[in-house]
Symmetry: C2
Subunit: 378 residues, 2 copies
Amino acid sequence: MTDSSPGDKPAVKADQASRPYSPGLEGVIAGETSLGYVDGERGRLTYRGYRIGDLVAHGSYPAVANLLWTGDWEPNHRLPTAPIPPAVLAVLRALPATTKPMDALRTAVSAWGTTLDLPWPPTVDQARALTSFSPSALAAFARLRAGQEPIEPDPSLDLVEGFLYQLTGSRPDAGTARALDAYFIVGAEHGFNASTFTARVITSTRSDIVSAITGAIGTMKGPLHGGAPSEVVDQLSQVGSADHAEAWVREALAKGERLMGFGHRVYRAYDPRAAALRTVAEGMAHKPDWLQLAIEVEDVVLRVLAEKHPDRPLKTNVEFYAAPVLMGVGLAPDLFPATFSLARHAGWTAHALEQAANNRLIRPDVNYVGPPERDLPS
Amino acid sequence: MTDSSPGDKPAVKADQASRPYSPGLEGVIAGETSLGYVDGERGRLTYRGYRIGDLVAHGSYPAVANLLWTGDWEPNHRLPTAPIPPAVLAVLRALPATTKPMDALRTAVSAWGTTLDLPWPPTVDQARALTSFSPSALAAFARLRAGQEPIEPDPSLDLVEGFLYQLTGSRPDAGTARALDAYFIVGAEHGFNASTFTARVITSTRSDIVSAITGAIGTMKGPLHGGAPSEVVDQLSQVGSADHAEAWVREALAKGERLMGFGHRVYRAYDPRAAALRTVAEGMAHKPDWLQLAIEVEDVVLRVLAEKHPDRPLKTNVEFYAAPVLMGVGLAPDLFPATFSLARHAGWTAHALEQAANNRLIRPDVNYVGPPERDLPS
């Protein structure tokens, strides 16, 4: 063993050399799941076997969350948002107004855990309670930083409507609630992404569901995972109107610029989440301007891309529709990642339940590539 | 693909069958490190090549933390505890008095992140600031739940002394501070345990150092990782005095009871961390009763174990000395896991720096073993 500089091959001990080494764990299968299944080649995403498009067409976020937790499909399952415990509200009031929404959500979830006893193993009731708490917390934070008072949950509203109500103070129209509910469904679960994996590693030590989801939120905060959905909004702003779309796209491609919202690491075919969101958008009686613009721009982009690259047509990804849906329902762009986290609560908590049900500590090994054993300098 | 019951072998897709499958990632090497090196066979632990016993004998926790962050050995490096930002103090005041200390520390660290801009990549300054904040936060929580006011840091005291001062309101004697400092040094780093791995997964998404350490604290909360150090205290309480040690040990072994603080998953030889703590304990002018008892009980246990199992002598592990050191300096047993977390801050943050310096998203794959694609029930 010797000191190694970054470019060197690591010095590997004899007992390490024979073991599989996979930086980033790419291609290593770290566990099993019965929840989400992503087929990138065919452009398919299923939750417990049900196609994402069918779930959006016939379900709601509470029904989908319940499906992920229990395996049962109850299309009329309800889940109103939950009240914020007084201690957590005091925590939210204490946060600086400049707090980033992801940091506020991470802190609110962690603080929520201090108000409860959450025995091992995690339960469906714990998952339900946490998933229904977080929208209230994010809405309260958004109001407090704007100098407004938080709004109590309305138990007659289901989770996504309730979130919008607590955010804005008025009940959303059905089309708006439906569009955001569709966004929550397509964001609910997506296999072993980095945040879900974090939730499972934390759960694997027999830690509690709040610790798992606090860690997952912190993981999703990273731009390599949570992405930058507001970039699609910036792009749509630049396009301005559908009339200008074709000229804008041709100029952007000529300049070698990257088109936001097209292409995906996993999906080679059309992203089924984008397809589901577009279907909902097209069915809306009164489309928000952002959604209408996105639909028209997508048509132009796909036509131009197919003309330029008939051999490898880039396909629309979920972010292309996620951003205009979130803008369309009136969310500030800096709330997008935290809203994505609210949607992913169903999947994260379902993975915590699944990990706990058949638990094994997740603990990989590491190659030591540092200095050999030596004396302290005298 | 079919539905699988828990006992079935999972249905594996063709493209998954050829890839390495390692539930728990046991034996899979997930990355490289130049920080800690654990040689369980020989009973060795080094930080950047320096033996743990030498670091305890010649250094202090601030010097060791600085070594882990920078690679430089500066034995006189200082790191006083840091003041608590007013917003975080308000958060701590809002937490219920029944809050578990690990939940309080997780929430305090998360809240600390809301008061700062922590740009990527993480820096040594960020690591230093967080590591010097957390002892103040845990001490403030412990006082607040007891109805006492928090105490401001004394910048003339180094980190471990400062923590004890802020906890108790009086400056610890040199021997007490030295014993706890030794505990902090041996707890600072230990390779890719589950909490350190969590910190690296979170960092790998380009998330911030606060998100990484918040996740790590939540991971260490799990008893499969953080352990149950108070069990050693319970055992020493049962023994009561050194005179009764031999009779107690023989009776416990005859009844097939497990001796807490002996044996380790990795170390086959004497745990070098236990050895370092015992050396410090033996050198103290005035040993706390708990430490004196531990030393005497260990001698008896090792003698009896060697007599009963000459072929596979169980060796003392770090928890056997960690618990009496923590009791000896006056910590309540329910603060042990959070104090362990304070010590591990140096390693966690050093791993965040190391991950960021040569980053690659950590994202394993998963075997889907759930239902095949199907229609929703009508």
